[in-house]
Symmetry: C2
Subunit: 201 residues, 2 copies
């Protein structure tokens, strides 16, 4: 607030909440007020949970996932297919694929995409870690599940080159019509891809 | 997440973030991930700010505002016009009016509206506190700035009755066309009120 009508502690809380994705300045004020009103039920427990996360959360040294243990729960789960690695840009993509629950594979998180203009080169991504994991042996397939953007596809090509001499199958997600998606909202590239990859009915 | 793929600490953090107004389950996941990634810049400072709020924020015993001091900064500001009290439902309304900066008056926060169906009676609202403040003397005007809802107006009438025998002027916010508002989006009640209260051009 331009005019100081609340103590600096509340002001600070609002400012920081406004940096949380999904909350702007206006909703940060509303969120702060709600948190303060629900001191016992929400503000207290959330403060504890954030302190816990602050203390315990770490990046998995094997796959780049985020968890409270290292290696993460996915890397250390013996029931997962260790021969298949799904390569994603970000932990949020890993979570999304896990929610879909389509595969019981391992993951590898790149931490972004190649973007020379933004100064993001191969060494800024977790590519070397992937090559090491494949080099260790036992991996038969890497499924490239990066975003279907220009940067994502550039990165996919670079990774494919790095793995070219290794005895591993490299696949990527199918393009097509999203389930429940309406055709006339889709771009021509998607429609063309969906037609070319058509399957028997 | 239905399937446990992150430690219980992160799960808990996501669950609690989902209860913050403005964040749903999906944005809570995104927010949690962002907070974890920005450990030093955001998660740490926000945890501290929330701990501070938890410890220091209290309800002003005089007006019902929320602040880190009691009486609040507004109540204890000698430059404010102590003869005028603006009556609002909620602290968020107080903040909104303060941001508008239209008046340098005192406030009084009711903490809701009368709502017999929800079991909210006069004693559940901060009405007695308002009557005491007026009874102390020195207050010449109470501006009723409750919402223009049925509950708000019922509450306004009840408060007016309580103050009827006291030597204080009771006013309310003008109805009219919102500044920048388009007429054909406004309801008939607002348009009628705006016409009746028309002013010289
Ligand atoms: Zn891992
Ligand atoms: Zn106060």
């Amino acid at each position: 607030m331009s005019k100081r009508i609340v103590g600096p502690e509340i002001e600070k809380l609002i400012q920081l909440l406004a940096k949380v994705p999904g909350l702007g300045p206006r909703s940060a004020r509303r969120a702060a007020l709600h948190l303060i009103k629900k001191k016992e039920q929400l503000l207290g427990p959330l403060t504890v949970a954030m302190g816990d996360a602050l203390e315990k959360v770490r990046v998995c040294s094997r796959c780049g996932n985020i968890d409270t243990v290292d290696p993460c729960m996915i890397c250390s789960d013996p029931r997962r297919d260790a021969a298949t690695i799904i390569l994603v840009e970000d932990v949020s993509d890993l979570w999304a694929l896990e929610r879909a629950g389509a595969m019981n594979a391992q993951f590898h998180v790149l931490g972004g995409t190649l973007s020379p203009l933004d100064g993001v080169g191969p060494d800024d991504l977790n590519i070397r870690g992937l090559v090491s994991r494949v080099a260790e042996g036992g991996v038969t397939e890497v499924i490239i599940a990066v975003n279907a953007t220009v940067e994502g596809q550039t990165t996919a090509h670079y990774v494919t080159d790095q793995l070219a001499d290794m005895n591993v199958k490299i696949t990527r997600l199918a393009h097509g019509v999203p389930v429940g998606g309406e055709l006339d909202y889709l771009d021509e590239g998607t429609l063309t891809a969906a037609l070319r990859s058509r399957t028997a009915f």
